[in-house]
């Protein structure tokens, strides 16, 4: 089975320009591909190599590079291996093509990424909000969104200052290490 996998991957490499492929283990393959070539690659993977199950689409934010990394995990029930196709798209404007016509589960993941990262997928059937319908802040999963600062500004904390603690503090004791000091 591994042998076949190698054969077709070699064929594939010849067909698509600018593809980088690394075998991580017997069942995990990582492919790096340019953003233009990804739909073609997925079409080939699905059509020729039985990678019919889209396990997930992950978005990783790399603000230093100004890019989003989109990772498409596709699983083949026949060769029993997983291909993770990595591609990078520019962070601005953050628009990419939907693969809904290839893989229907993509609709959920693309919708999710749209909400959480603000990446728009052209051709996706449904880009409406699903989880954050009552949220009007920035896309929360972007790295520049600081959840802790937002929480401190938005919510009140439960005051906790019982009498015995006050007594201790009068004598110079009490909580000597504040929570912010022990944050790693």
């Amino acid at each position: 089975m591994d042998k076949n996998l190698n054969v077709w991957l070699d064929n594939l490499l010849q067909e698509i320009e600018g593809i980088k492929f690394r075998r991580k283990s017997t069942r995990r393959v990582r492919i790096d591909v340019a953003m233009d070539a990804l739909p073609t690659l997925l079409e080939l993977l699905q059509g020729r190599a039985s990678y019919v199950h889209l396990s997930a689409i992950t978005c990783v934010d790399w603000p230093d590079d100004g890019e989003f990394e989109l990772v498409y995990h596709v699983w083949s029930y026949e060769t029993q291996s997983l291909v993770s196709a990595h591609t990078r798209i520019p962070r601005d404007p953050g628009v990419y093509l939907s693969i809904y016509d290839l893989y229907e589960p993509a609709a959920f993941f693309e919708r999710d990424i749209h909400e959480m990262f603000g990446v728009f997928f052209e051709g996706s059937p449904d880009m409406e909000k699903f989880i954050l319908t009552e949220w009007d802040g920035p896309p929360p999963m972007r790295k520049e969104f600081d959840s802790e600062a937002f929480v401190n500004q938005q919510f009140e904390w439960q005051p906790y200052h019982p009498d015995w603690l006050k007594e201790l503090e009068e004598e110079g004791g009490g909580v000597t290490t504040r929570p912010e000091d022990i944050r790693w």
């Binding site: 449904d126 409406e128 929480v151 009140e156 439960q158 009498d163 004598e171």
Partner: protein, 240 residues
């Protein structure tokens, strides 16, 4: 530093005795009604968070809450207690408040899990409200992540005792301090926040108006009040 074991535990002062009617017959009647109220609590069947996973064991064969007269009810109209089980995300909190206002009084709220006290382990989360009692009055908190069914039942028994002795009246606070609760709600949900229930009219009806009921937040509510349309769900034809 003082040895922590030697610190006396400060007893919380007993809450003031509730006012009683002078007529002895009326008193007996009140006692009876309160006893029945404490022995028959319908809880709302609403799982707001992960603590709800310990409610089925507490309800079913092993711990059997029906022994205490507690049974689940499916609509807020019939419910007496609202169990807020675990973290309340902002989206859920809106529904909790709507539900709470629809429940007929006397009504009681139990905050289960640490998350309802101070945000628990989701203190960093942008999506969850931290302190439940800022938004609705809470009768009993049951801490733990998550509290065991025994803890849930013991919390319910504490509430029963409070109801029987007439101390479980946190629901009155909602009418008496409506401005405070509404202010916190508006802070979270925006100035346009309004619910279908006319809480101020209900406060008038029950004679629970205090000077805390009305304030700047209720003024804001009246300014922004728009007549509510019939509830409509938004559906979109799905393209197959």
């Amino acid at each position: 530093m003082k040895d922590i074991k030697k610190i006396e535990i400060i007893q919380r002062p007993p809450p003031p005795e509730p006012a009683r009617r002078t007529n002895p017959l009326a008193r007996v009647f009140d006692e009876l009604v309160r006893f029945c109220q404490s022995r028959s609590m319908f809880m709302l069947h609403y799982c707001t968070g992960c603590g709800a996973i310990e409610l089925p064991p507490a309800m079913t064969s092993r711990f059997d809450m029906e022994r205490l007269g507690i049974q689940p009810m499916v609509t807020p109209r019939q419910a007496d207690i609202l169990l807020v089980t675990g973290y309340v995300s902002v989206k859920t909190l809106k529904r909790i408040i709507l539900t709470y206002e629809q429940m007929p009084s006397p009504k009681y709220v139990i905050g289960i899990c640490s998350c309802t006290v101070n945000g628990g382990m989701y203190w960093q989360s942008y999506a969850t409200a931290k302190v439940l009692k800022d938004y609705i009055p809470v009768d009993v908190y049951i801490a733990g992540c998550m509290p065991r069914p025994e803890a849930v039942i013991s919390g319910l028994r504490a509430l029963m005792e409070d109801i029987r002795t007439g101390r479980g009246d946190a629901w009155k606070k909602y009418y008496q301090n409506y401005d405070f609760y509404l202010g916190n709600q508006q802070r979270l949900f925006g100035e346009k926040w309004q619910t279908p229930t006319d809480v101020i009219a209900e406060a008038h009806h029950y004679g629970m108006m205090t000077d805390q009921t009305l304030g700047e937040h209720t003024d804001l509510l009246e300014q922004n009040e728009v007549p509510l349309d019939a509830l409509r769900t938004r559906l979109k034809a799905r393209t197959e």
